[in-house]
């Protein structure tokens, strides 16, 4: 049995015919080819498959695709382009907030949700807020620096606007 689900991903509408048990992560990665949605543990422990659903950071392995129907989904592919990185992405580049980068899309998207809620987080707050993510390479200090740097950058942008 399959059902039809309409998803709005990175500003584009998609309709997929899927078995009802398919997770949002499986649809985004497997059916829509968005490889930046990284499936790793598929039990909500590692945070690698994080996407933003209506601005909220969600483990896409724990949400059924049908639950995301007609909601606004943002994956890393929709955030910035290589020519025009989002300030959070640029800060991760500049601060070396990764090594292998398997976890990076999830960290970047959760950081975006965090900074929209709390524009000037303390380092300890960033660490706590990102504790749903695993960076097995252990680049946490540089991830935290990247988020702080991005916060400064975004605040400056907001002032200039």
């Amino acid at each position: 049995m399959t059902i039809e689900v309409s998803l709005r991903v990175n500003g584009l509408d998609h309709t997929v015919e899927i078995p009802p048990h398919e997770t949002l992560g499986q649809v985004l990665n497997g059916r829509l080819g968005l490889n930046g949605v990284r499936l790793s543990c598929e039990e909500g422990e590692c945070g690698a498959c994080t996407v933003l659903v209506d601005g909220e950071a969600i483990n896409s392995c724990l949400m059924l695709a049908v639950q995301a129907g007609n909601r606004d989904i943002l994956t890393i592919e929709g955030l910035g382009t290589p020519e025009n990185l989002h300030p959070i992405q640029q800060a991760f580049v500049d601060e070396h907030g990764f090594q292998c980068s398997f976890c990076t899309p999830g960290f970047v998207l959760s950081s975006k949700a965090l900074l929209e809620e709390t524009p000037h987080p303390e380092a300890a707050e960033i660490a706590a807020e990102l504790s749903g993510h695993i960076c097995r390479c252990g680049t946490y200090p540089n991830i935290i620096r990247a988020v702080q740097r991005a916060a400064e950058e975004l605040a400056e942008e907001a002032t200039n606007e």
């Binding site: 490889n35 592919e77 990764f98 292998c100 980068s101 660490a127 990102l130 097995r136």
Partner: protein
């Protein structure tokens, strides 16, 4: 050695070459590869720890619609690890299974779901054999034998001086033992292998740290020419030695050949955790003597490590011996033993993580007895430049032609250089050691159930093990003056493409942005050892440097010819421009040189730099060091240990890229601290099955678990052989955290613990449970 500030590219903390792909999610991992008409494979794993396959009937599975083919041990009757790769032994697909999760068969089908369904239809009958799991019990000749040649590998022994004499001259002798659980690689990413045959030639897309070795293993395994195997190594998600050589690739290649179609086998998280490999289970016992003045008189250590089902390591490395080998008498024995647990193999910091922690513990216990500050004790005893490397004495050293080595290169068998004292002293200052250190076994602060204390320890690793494999690189300069560096090292993620590019661009005198690195394709790269054993910065870096200098010389020769009679020695290069220090009118851009036709052939010049200088065996002289400082808080009610402050210092010679090295140092520290505190694979007692094959039950460190702003300092040294004086960086920082944290815990609560130091172990040691 030239001073570091003379460099224009080396030493700059530039972003990673592939940073943009990484932050946009565009970087493709092995599981993201798609090949036209590709089908999917799944592996059937053994449910038994030790059994003989008496019947394997694939007829029901084969008849399932959508199934395209199945391989079992009958398809690979003479496929021996010994023929493919040096670290494992036994048949790759055997009629005997040696651990729960061992490979029994693999199915190719039109979809993953069909392949999974087909696994259920393979009928296997097993003759159950008695298993053995405990490394010490497995050493007994009467224990069940996992391998045809027996469980116990011959002991590896390093002996110098006389232990009895050492004991006689000692004022104190301490004795202890230590057990280490097994750490999982716990990869955040997964691995997949895609194999596609075209006639008798196969292309393999997978994640491996050693593309050249992988290509050789496949060629040898299948009995095809090396030239017919192409491995294109894909990025890894945190590897630490996991994705080196494994059954996954060999089985996928075999399956693809049998069905005549491209096949991808993608491992899930449980397979990555529980069926590939893990860190060895290790047990140490030993004694150490010292005089009242703090000098070590002897070390006598026996170590056992389990190899699991297919590992073959006779020893896990004796580099720890080097660190404390300055003492006059010593004996180190290590024995490898097979068990019916998943195969054990080299994980980041192998040997030094465990034996090093035990040697440091013995040192601490002796320092307690003579009441000497652990920092002072280490400064007094660590190995110095020129000291003999005890593990390196012997036949290989005797065979080397020492006289042929260039002037200024180190004497083989002796430590080439070090800045460990510098690391200890500067690290102590940055950490505030003198203010924080109270005394042995005395917390610096007590607040209700919470006890604070500090610890310091050192770590070491070799800058590369040769394993009879060379390092080499090629540097091609293109018609527009851009260049490509070809060096086989895979794409593990630690930043080596960037640091190798920095070496090559510095030597070639061009912008690093004009230099691309090809690190994974064996059809493009010359054979080279790869990113294992801390080879990359040191050994691969040397090869890259040599190839780039060769390319530069070819450029100068070509420019001299184009300038009609200048001597190449009168020319030099800067920022992609050839100039003459003595004649300001001479100026040729690399693009001009590369686009000017040679009058003798009417073709553009060909610049192809290659490694031609053989590198002396770095195991014989090159080490790099770490010294770590930690403050902990132990809750004696809950048994929890928190890390409050951390300073990591490292002597990696010239720093190629401070941010890359900082991630290696702190990443290593976090991996070591995870093993120190929480990381342990749980094996089911009766089967050896791994009970926690995922992040839900296997606890790794997260951002709040490690101090958020740790100090990182680099020692001031320059290696006489390495590229621009650089040594390697990734493994030594994994070795120091365990002894540093363990010492701090002793100072907080007065007990020495096994690893990891879980809350249960803390409470048990305190007699609370």
């Amino acid at each position: 050695m030239s001073d570091q500030q003379d460099f224009t590219i080396v030493g700059k903390a530039i972003p990673l070459k592939d940073a943009t792909d990484k932050v946009t999610g565009r970087l493709k991992f092995s599981g993201d590869i798609r090949v036209p008409d590709m089908v999917h494979g799944k592996i059937l794993h053994s449910p038994h720890p030790h059994a003989r396959i008496t019947v394997i009937d694939i007829r029901r599975a084969e008849s399932l619609p959508g199934v395209l083919g199945i391989v079992t041990h009958q398809d690979a009757p003479a496929w021996e690890w010994e023929n493919c790769w040096h670290n494992y032994g036994g048949r790759i697909l055997d009629d005997k299974v040696r651990f729960v999760g061992d490979e029994v068969a693999a199915v190719a089908a039109e979809s993953v779901e069909i392949a999974e369904a087909a696994l259920e239809l393979i009928d296997v009958e097993y003759e159950i054999l008695e298993p053995t799991f405990d490394p010490i019990e497995a050493l007994d000749p009467d224990a069940p034998q996992v391998r045809a040649e027996g469980n116990a590998r011959p002991p590896t022994e390093v002996v110098w001086g006389d232990i009895d004499e050492g004991a006689e001259m000692s004022d104190v002798i301490v004795e202890s033992s230590m057990a280490f659980d097994s750490q999982a690689y716990a990869p955040i990413g997964r691995n997949a292998c895609t194999a596609q045959w075209d006639g008798d030639r196969v292309t393999v897309w997978t994640c491996t740290q050693t593309p050249s070795e992988m290509r050789d293993a496949i060629a040898r395994g299948l009995g095809v020419p090396v030239s017919n195997v192409r491995v294109i190594s894909q990025p890894c998600g945190s590897s630490f030695g996991l994705w080196w050589i494994g059954s996954l690739q060999l089985i996928t290649v075999l399956l693809a050949r049998k069905i005549g179609k491209a096949v991808q086998i993608s491992l899930d998280q449980e397979e990555c955790f529980a069926t590939v490999k893990r860190r060895h289970l290790e047990r140490s016992t030993g004694r150490l003597g010292a005089k009242r003045d703090g000098s070590v008189t002897f070390i006598d250590l026996e170590h056992v490590h389990d190899n699991g089902g297919y590992g073959l390591k006779p020893d896990v490395g004796f580099l720890t011996v080097d660190l404390w080998g300055a003492g006059p008498n010593g004996r180190f024995i290590d024995r490898g033993v097979s068990t019916n647990l998943v195969t054990a193999g080299c994980m980041r910091g192998v040997g030094d993580v465990t034996m090093g922690a035990f040697v440091e513990r013995l040192l601490d216990m002796a320092a307690v007895e003579i009441d000497m500050d652990p920092l002072e004790f280490r400064l007094k005893n660590h190995i110095r430049a020129g000291d003999p490397l005890r593990a390196m004495e012997g036949e290989t050293l005797d065979q080397m032609d020492h006289a042929s080595l260039p002037d200024g290169w180190p004497e083989l068998g002796k430590l080439d250089g070090e800045a460990l004292s510098d690391c200890l002293i500067r690290g102590a200052e940055a950490f505030g050691w003198n203010e924080k250190w109270t005394d042995w076994g005395k917390p610096s602060a007590v607040d209700g159930p919470k006890r604070r204390a500090v610890g310091v320890a050192t770590g070491v690793h070799s800058c590369g093990t040769e394993d009879e494999y060379p390092v080499s690189a090629l540097v091609r300069v293109h018609s527009d003056g851009s260049a490509t560096l070809h060096c086989s090292m895979g794409r593990q993620g630690q930043g080596s493409e960037t640091t190798q590019a920095q070496i090559a661009a510095e030597a070639l005198c061009i912008s690093v942005d004009r230099l691309r690195v090809e690190a994974g394709d064996t059809d493009a790269c010359p054979p080279s050892h790869g990113a294992i054993a801390s080879n990359t910065s040191y050994r691969t870096g040397f090869a890259t440097w040599d190839a780039a200098l060769d390319a530069k010389q070819q450029i100068l020769d070509t420019a001299a010819m184009q300038l009609g009679g200048s001597a190449p020695d009168d020319l030099d290069m800067r920022d992609g421009v050839v100039f003459s220090p003595s004649d300001p009118t001479v100026s040729l851009t690399l693009e001009e040189i590369m686009s000017t036709y040679r009058p003798d052939s009417m073709t553009p010049p060909m610049i192809l730099g290659r490694t031609s200088t053989p590198m002396p065996p770095s195991m014989m002289y090159a080490r790099y060091f770490a010294a770590h400082f930690v403050e902990v808080e132990v809750d004696v009610d809950t048994g929890e240990i928190q890390l409050l402050d951390y300073v990591a210092t490292q002597d990696s010679g010239t720093v190629l890229n401070a941010k890359v090295l900082e991630n290696q140092v702190i990443g290593g520290a976090i991996l070591g601290a995870g093993f120190a505190l929480t990381e342990r694979l749980a094996f089911e007692p009766d089967t050896g099955k791994i009970l926690n094959p995922g992040f839900l039950d296997y606890k790794v460190m997260r951002a709040p678990d490690f101090p958020i702003d740790p100090g990182v300092l680099f020692g001031d040294s320059h290696d006489p052989v390495g590229a621009f004086g650089a040594k390697s960086g990734g493994e030594a920082p994994t070795t120091a955290p365990i002894p540093a944290i363990s010492q701090a815990v002793y100072n907080a609560i007065g007990v020495w613990l096994d690893i990891p130091m879980t809350p249960e172990r803390v409470l048990e040691a305190l007699g609370k449970i």
